[in-house]
């Protein structure tokens, strides 16, 4: 019987970008989440290449509501930073940004920080971009080791990147970086868009898969469960088959949820509850 634990479901705050951090945390508590994956973006968490604010205050707010932040996700698609940066100043800023993210993750007591490969330029040799990305991820893995954090890398959709967009390129990056603090996560949207399955990822990475963005899609979209075309029960069955007991980040990004995110989060967790004991 397909089974998931409540603590595995990690609520996220991307679709709360029109609301305050307090509003998001109150909603998570009320709806029944125990775990959150904290996205660092306005207006909730300030993280940049110079510094970050206010780890102690944020930690207190999370704890007061009986929640636990297990994963930190720096905004790494729309902000002015990327792992595949090319110009020296952009590389420097991007590295500092992600390194600050690792430090913030550590201060908040998270286990993991999410990363992707970055994307590079469309009019350059893919290998060049791949190499820069590998260099930065290696350096960040070292910072992660110093701070007791494990980086988990997701793949991107081919519209977003030419570096890591499928299980094959993820494996290549994983092998090149080769650090105990550099692991893999599945994003069900990128996985499905690439035409891949959980079998493909688990057969390649096994226990090195330590986190997931586990959302509905058709296959594009980062949707609330029920709004896409995937079968929640079959997806959970696949997790059970590979004894995956890690977190399932609810990375909901579709604009249709921004007006009333809490309403949709409640729908989402009700669908997960059908598979809880």
């Amino acid at each position: 019987m397909a089974t998931v634990k409540r603590e595995q479901i990690a609520g996220m705050n991307i679709h709360y970008l029109n609301y305050s951090l307090d509003y998001f945390l109150d909603a998570q508590q009320r709806i029944g989440f125990k775990t959150i994956e904290l996205w660092c973006g306005a207006p909730h968490v300030w993280l940049d290449h110079i510094t970050y604010y206010d780890a102690a205050g944020i930690k207190k707010k999370i704890k007061e509501r009986g929640l636990s932040a297990e994963v930190l996700t720096p905004e790494n698609c729309t902000y002015p930073y990327q792992v595949g940066a090319k110009e020296p100043e952009h590389v420097k800023r991007s590295f500092s940004y992600f390194a600050n993210g690792i430090r913030l993750a550590s201060e908040l007591g998270c286990r993991y920080m999410e990363v992707n490969s970055g994307w590079g330029y469309w009019n350059e040799d893919r290998e060049e971009a791949f190499k820069r990305s590998a260099d930065m991820l290696s350096g960040l893995s070292e910072v992660a080791r110093e701070n007791g954090i494990t980086l988990v890398m997701e793949s991107l959709r081919p519209e977003e990147s030419q570096i890591v967009t499928d299980v094959k390129s993820a494996k290549r990056m994983f092998d090149i970086v080769g650090s105990p603090n550099f692991k893999i996560m599945i994003d069900t949207c990128a996985m499905s868009v690439a035409g891949e399955t959980f079998d493909d990822w688990f057969n390649t990475f096994g226990e090195n898969i330590m986190h997931m963005h586990f959302i509905d899609g058709s296959p594009y979209g980062h949707l609330i469960w029920g709004d896409g075309s995937h079968h929640l029960g079959k997806f959970i069955e696949a997790l059970n088959k590979y004894n995956y007991t890690g977190f399932l980040g609810q990375e909901i990004t579709d604009g249709r949820y921004y007006e009333d995110p809490a309403k949709h989060d409640l729908r989402n967790i009700r669908n997960f509850e059908r598979y809880m004991d």
Partner: protein, 278 residues
């Protein structure tokens, strides 16, 4: 026949995020643009609340291709810098960022910096967001005056902000700010989404419209002309009727153009060709 000057139509770099600034500028020159509105966004122009990259080099890059940077827009919707943020720290750093933007604008040789009133949260009373917008724009107006720049404020879609989404809302703000260095910008998408027309805007603001994001829409979009449903000739005629001589920036944001932005821009510039008198 509606008419325009070639240099009024300004290319923009938003849809070039997967390409370098050199690629962007080459593409503008090739498409026929004489003017660009540069957005302070990575990887083209790096800035933050403490400073910005060398403007002289960027200006030279543009000028060597026969391009003038007519307007500078620090990215003001997608990053953590939001003018109306209720969090004191977010707001303070955003204000510092926009003040850096004003200096960068002057350094790039532009007289106009564009912004909007995004950043208020939905769980805050909109009146308080509005008060913050007025206060912030007065402060930016003073900074702009010192640098010989004028801040142009656009409206946005109701999905982006609870305030300043209509021509009436912007007029009230304009009157409450009442600063010679804070003026109005017409964004044709926000305009269309609000159910408004260019004529209404010019009737309301007249010469105080100092800038336009003049793109096709359905009305949502930010599209290449021809991909939306707006009547280009009628809209240009309204500009002519009111003697508008400012820029018509091509703020193309739709993801469909990110793969081949240069192709899209060449097609877009061509749509304006019949109206050029020079």
């Amino acid at each position: 026949m509606p008419r325009l000057l070639r240099q009024q139509v300004a290319g923009m770099n938003i849809h070039y995020i997967y390409y370098s600034i050199d690629y962007f500028l080459d593409a503008q020159q090739k498409a026929g643009f004489k003017t660009v509105e540069l957005v302070g966004q990575a990887p083209h122009f790096l800035m933050d609340y403490t400073g910005f990259q060398d403007t002289k080099k960027v200006r030279e890059k543009a000028e060597s291709r026969g391009l003038k940077i007519g307007v500078f827009t620090p990215e003001c919707a997608a990053y953590h810098y939001l003018l109306c943020s209720p969090d004191p720290g977010f707001h303070k750093r955003s204000m510092e960022y926009f003040k850096q933007g004003i200096k960068a604008c002057a350094g790039l040789g532009s007289k106009i910096m564009l912004t909007n009133c995004i950043g208020g949260t939905w769980d805050e009373e909109p009146g308080r967001t509005y008060e913050r917008a007025v206060k912030s724009l007065k402060e930016l107006g003073d900074a702009a005056k010192e640098s010989g720049v004028t801040v142009a404020v656009e409206t946005v879609r109701p999905e982006e902000s609870k305030i300043i989404t209509t021509v009436g809302g912007l007029k009230k703000l304009y009157d409450d700010v009442s600063h010679p260095n804070v003026k109005a910008a017409l964004d044709t998408v926000a305009m269309g989404v609000a159910g408004e027309t260019p004529r209404q805007w010019f009737e309301t603001f007249g010469k105080d419209i100092i800038h336009c994001h003049f793109v096709d829409g359905r009305p949502y979009g930010h599209l290449i002309w021809g991909d939306g449903l707006y009547p280009l000739d009628r809209y240009i005629k309204v500009l002519n009727d009111y003697g508008y001589e400012g820029y018509l920036s091509q703020e193309i944001t739709d993801g469909r153009y990110f793969d081949k932005p240069a192709e899209a821009d060449a097609r877009n510039f061509k749509a304006f060709e019949p109206y050029f008198v020079n």
